[in-house]
């Protein structure tokens, strides 16, 4: 799957400028027709929309992933633009991204019927990031969010959230039910919107890197790595082999820790309370090792542009190898316990099915995609150095129920342990960090990594003085709400927490 041998990355298609790492290309157009045509061409070749956003320059940007690599498709808009063409008929999940742009920038998505506010909760008098000084007044002010109503005998609604019963991020779920059965689920997000796009503007690199670590705390390594790669591409920074190894190890540690937590929580939600007590101490032990070796329990700020904040010594490698061995033994036993537990399997199986067709149509990647027959994994597909040297295996299942998502997580823990072991034992050292040059003119770059949830995209534009003009860091969480909405109907209301946990979207990363 080399990018340069693919029909996409050729001058004829316009996708001709190839960058290193995972092959990707920037395509900028000023023609709405060409923007739509290229999106259509990509979609007909099986591409997935990852994220769509706008920035301080009037432009719409879409990150679209192909088997062969990534395309960053941009439509430059005139300064006084009032609208842009909607991609929602080509990529259905584009709609909520475009509604977000509508809310934040006041630009109207042409061709999108659903113009209900998404990120705007009616508190703003004008779009907070508008490109024009006299923006349109928003319609959302003071109105109740119009959920789609289901009518019929005995149908009633259950509103849940934004505050939930437990330690969970805030968001609203509207269930239409008959008896115990869910007919429809509609999500309403935006409660954790922190204006991150605006906060990036004008920050220097160290401050921006701190923010990049805090887009979604559970993915701190993945988001900082995507950000750092984008900066490194923009400024042509070469990364030493040692640093690449440490980053790969950190990324796999983050994956293992999150999968452990999710597996424990899934067992607990399915009625096996002891699951929390079995899985979470393993995660706690990882956090303590993270703190003593890398300076932060959750590995915040461990990856920075140009390098990593803590290198790897021989003694550290010893500690990590020992921990690996212990985890291998413990998780093997826990996997057998889960597999043998009839009650647990009964709750997991046939619950919250996301069919491969729907997953494909929505463009779901990551754990949820792989559990529903979507075999995408950047580590496997793109010879990402250095993990590709150890031939990462693809986790794949085709049923798409909670049980599948549990199996994928177990598989990935073992695979991550194997990869970590291989990375540790062949660590080339030394992990020297690169110096960051000052760009003479504005520069742009992108980076993409396979986080624990799925792909994480980073994009930046940097100004002279090493100041951020704009940045966008996004994971697949917004798409996972679509997956959840597609898989909950037909299930019991009481199974919702279990199904939600099995997808585990980040609310914070959804509300950018």
């Amino acid at each position: 799957m080399e990018g340069d041998s693919s029909p996409f990355f050729s001058p004829e298609t316009g996708f001709d400028r190839l960058h290193g790492g995972i092959p990707h290309t920037f395509l900028v157009t000023e023609s709405p027709d060409r923007y739509l045509a290229q999106a259509r061409l990509l979609s007909s070749n099986g591409a997935r929309l990852l994220t769509l956003w706008s920035e301080s320059l009037p432009a719409i940007r879409a990150a679209i992933l192909l088997r062969e690599g990534l395309v960053l498709l941009s439509l430059s808009l005139p300064k006084d633009a009032v609208s842009f063409p909607s991609l929602s008929s080509i990529f259905p999940p584009a709609a909520r991204f475009e509604r977000t742009i509508h809310d934040l920038f006041g630009l109207i998505p042409d061709g999108l019927a659903d113009l209900r506010p998404w990120i705007d909760h009616g508190l703003w008098s004008h779009p907070p990031l508008s490109h024009t000084p006299s923006p349109l007044t928003r319609l959302a002010q003071g109105m109740d969010y119009p959920f789609v109503r289901v009518r019929g005998d005995g149908v009633h609604e259950i509103p849940v959230g934004p505050v939930h019963a437990g330690i969970i991020e805030p968001g609203h779920f509207r269930f239409s039910v008959v008896g115990e059965k869910v007919l429809r689920l509609e999500t309403r997000m935006g409660y954790t919107h922190k204006g991150i796009a605006r906060l990036f503007r004008g920050r220097n690199l160290p401050e921006a890197a701190r923010l990049a670590s805090r887009i979604s705390g559970d993915s701190a390594v993945a988001t900082s790595l995507a950000f750092s790669k984008a900066v490194e591409e923009a400024l042509d920074i070469e990364i030493s082999e040692g640093v690449r190894f440490v980053r790969a190890i950190l990324l796999e540690r983050e994956r293992i820790a999150n999968h452990l937590a999710d597996l424990g929580a899934l067992g607990n939600d399915a009625g096996l309370a002891v699951a929390l007590s079995l899985f979470h101490p393993l995660r706690e032990a990882m956090h303590r090792i993270n703190l003593s070796l890398f300076g932060h329990r959750l590995l915040f700020d461990s990856v920075v542009p140009g390098g990593v904040s803590t290198g790897l010594s021989g003694a550290m490698i010893e500690t990590l190898l020992l921990e690996n061995e212990r985890l291998q033994a413990e998780v093997s036993l826990l996997e057998r316990i889960y597999a043998d537990h009839g009650g647990l399997q009964d709750r997991f199986q046939n619950t919250g099915i996301l069919s491969p067709e729907v997953a494909g149509r929505l463009g779901i990647g990551g754990v949820a995609g792989r559990a529903s027959g979507q075999g995408w994994d950047l580590r496997v597909d793109h010879r990402e150095d250095p993990v590709h040297r150890f031939a990462p295996a693809l986790a794949l299942d085709h049923i798409g129920d909670v049980a599948s998502r549990v199996r994928i997580r177990f598989f990935e823990i073992f695979e991550s342990l194997r990869l970590t072991h291989a990375l540790l034992t062949s660590f080339p050292g030394p992990d020297i960090c690169a110096t960051i040059p000052d760009p003479p003119a504005p520069r742009e770059g992108a980076g993409i990594v396979e986080g624990f949830r799925g792909e994480v995209l980073g994009w930046v534009r940097i100004l002279p003085g090493k100041i951020l003009a704009d940045a966008h860091i996004a994971d697949g969480s917004p798409l996972l709400w679509h997956a959840l909405e597609a898989s909950v109907p037909g299930n019991l209301v009481a199974d919702f927490p279990l199904i939600n946990k099995s997808f585990n979207p980040s609310y914070s990363a959804s509300d950018l």
Partner: protein
């Protein structure tokens, strides 16, 4: 099943005692247990990961007599994380109003105290101080579980506020 029982037996008790004693944290002798209602007011979810850690058997906040409850009507302590996003202000205030007096407000994490890395945004209130001034604060990004346990103990011992 046997594997599970064997594993439970072999695991034994993992719970550690809090790093500081009851006298040091000023917590009064236990009269009853206290209930905590958590509200995420726009956090990055890092603080939530550490709140989850309070419930693992190593930290085991419940063995100290504290538990997280679903209803604000049952809560004594309002534990807040996140910089107070504008979109969570109302839900946060409603939750606080629904709690019976006496009640305490505990700010967990740099965001809840002063906005943290999100300080200065058009979309947040830069922490709790202008919304519900906290009785007790726990610094850190995120604060480690031991620090949060200590904060809970201090909140329990602190004089009631916001009646």
């Amino acid at each position: 099943m046997w594997k599970l029982l064997w594993k439970i037996l072999k695991t034994g008790t993992l719970t550690e005692s809090p790093t500081r004693t009851q006298e040091e944290t000023g917590r009064p002798p236990f009269l009853h247990s206290a209930s905590i209602r958590h509200v995420d007011a726009g956090s990055c979810n890092g603080c939530e990961l550490e709140l989850w850690a309070l419930e693992n058997p190593v930290t085991s906040l419940s063995s100290l007599g504290f538990s997280f409850v679903a209803s604000p009507r049952h809560a004594d302590i309002l534990l807040v994380t996140g910089p107070v996003s504008c979109h969570m202000k109302e839900a946060l205030e409603t939750t606080h109003q629904a709690m019976p007096a006496p009640k305490r407000v505990l700010a967990v994490g740099d965001c809840a105290i002063s906005g943290g890395v999100f300080r200065g945004s058009y979309a947040t209130h830069d922490g709790l101080s202008s919304i519900l001034p906290p009785d007790v604060t726990v610094h850190g990004c995120p604060p480690p579980p031991e620090a949060i346990v200590e904060g809970v103990l201090r909140a329990f011992g602190s004089p009631p506020h916001h009646s």
